[in-house]
Amino acid sequence: MRPERKRPGQKNPLSRLAKKPPRRVLVFGIGNPGREDDGLGARAVEIVAALRLPGVTCDANYQLNVEDALTCSAHDVVIFIDAAKRIRTPFAWSEVMAGAAAPAMTHALGPEAVLTVCAGLYGRNPEAHVLGIRGHRWGVGEGLSPRAEGNLREAVGFLKEFLARRPPMKGAAK
């Protein structure tokens, strides 16, 4: 079952996090920057990486793959950032959990499947979220559309606030 999407502003998902202990956080961007707004995930991760937050590991790739489960297993919190087509808001934040696995037809995996592999092979269930940022153009070419740029700013602002309220553990791998 797909996780419920929460529209930012309706119910602030950050309000209950302020007193949580520091964690090792992985921010993982998914997408192909050569396909216009599909590069939203990678671009968001670039912005977060430039903040040099202690305890926050940044990574990005065209698609999620099975070995990313190993990376996830070394973190307490995992945030997948991807371009989204079917949301009405500039971005959507949702919790995601290991789900029922399915037979695979392609080399790529979804966040739920990566978490399933993480739990199944490494016995780890990191808290995980998907930050979907709405994209509008999907052609061949670099650079984001103006509307996607605006969505990116809002989404990254939200993510910064999340990371600020939940300070990552110092000394974690970068």
Binding site: Y62, Q63, E67, A83, K85, M105, W138
Partner: protein, 482 residues
Amino acid sequence: MARKITIEPVTRVEGHGKVTIHLDDAGKVTQSRFHIVEFRGFERFVQGRPYWEAPVLVQRLCGICPVSHHLAAAKAMDVIVGTGPTGLPPTAEKMRRLMHYGQILQSHALHFFHLSSPDFILGMDADPAIRNIIGVAALNRDLAVQAVLLRKFGQEIILATAGKKIHGTGAIPGGVNKNLSPEERDTFLKGPAPLTVDQMIAWSQAAIDLFKGYHKANQDLVDGFAVFPSNHLSLVRKDGALDFYHGVLRAVDADGHKVLNDVDYQDYLKYIGEEIRPWSYMKFPYLKSLGKSAGWYRVGPLARLNTCDYVPSPLAQKEFETYKAYTDGKPNNMTLHSHWARLIELLHSAEVIKELLLDKDLQGTKLVKLGKKAAEGVGLVEAPRGTLFHHYRINDDDQITMANLIVSTTNNNEPMNRAVHWVAENMLSGKPEITEGMLNRVEVAIRAYDPCLSCATHALGQMPLEVTLCGPNGNVLDRKTR
């Protein structure tokens, strides 16, 4: 009641495919087709761009095998900058080979363990909820962990040679932009354990043994599933050895006769044609000498082990001899033997990676060689899925004026259709009920070719596979998504 079954993998925005099987009132198969909506806009996109951008630009095409496109484009540009396909400095060619064999290793490992082994280990009729790598892990956790680490090792090789995970820049026209440092080399040779090349060789060997054990226990299925004669095409080294990076084009027919005899791939247009059929977006390549109806061919692991004379690494050669002996030296036309061939290539890749890591040329400093510029170049590599063609022309302003790509999945278009038709005819036709296991056999037939159905962009909210069952009027009777 006449019915239509549609299996539609809706993967990324472009590059999706579907299977359509038409049944008559008696449930007999009247027609079966495998469609892939191929993305062709790329060839127009590169027109007008400077030629030296091509090796990076082409990685926009595919998030699954960007290294193959990167290297095929770089090889074409080698011709354009006058280096030619064999004139690279030794450090450059060996760095590219290391990148390429790293990619083959990770791709083949992922394909076998993640995509195909659940069908073998858990059975084609197993509950889809467990017919996956987690189901494999429940039975054999070590195997699943090895799959992840084989994949990770290959990815780390790519990172060390291409420079970046996304839009790698390692190969440039006429050479490469980096060598391999002694520290990087030692990491791959010595670990941290278990991520060492020797461990990868051992696990690759174990994977072959696993397949052979399954084969022994399920000989009728493995030998009898989707068998049909075909031509086979690939690059081979000039001396006939298996080579994924460079060589001459060779094709053999179903009996092993050479129907394309070690020709220079710069002249591929003399030998390869592409047929357009009205029902498919993807073209159907064929050997011109045999014509459209008889000239179609397979590419990929099965084809490569049918065209080559030997495998130039000791452990893989030994396995190759066993593999060839099984068909008395004749070409192997058994679709599920693609997995056996793929695993022999996995072992070969691991052995070649070790050989390259021990070669001091990788620490050389002459990285680029340029010559007299040409207006046209063709680059070929054997991608994990098969032969990949890149062809470019440029103008006096160094801008690309023409690009033509024939990707591996296009080369396998006709064989995949034949494999689907075989399953439809032999396993679905006349059956009162179409079960999930039957539909999975259609996927098994396609999976053997490891088609790249996700060659483009992607976004949240798209399912990787959709199965639709339609009634005689096209009404949807059932739909399943994965």
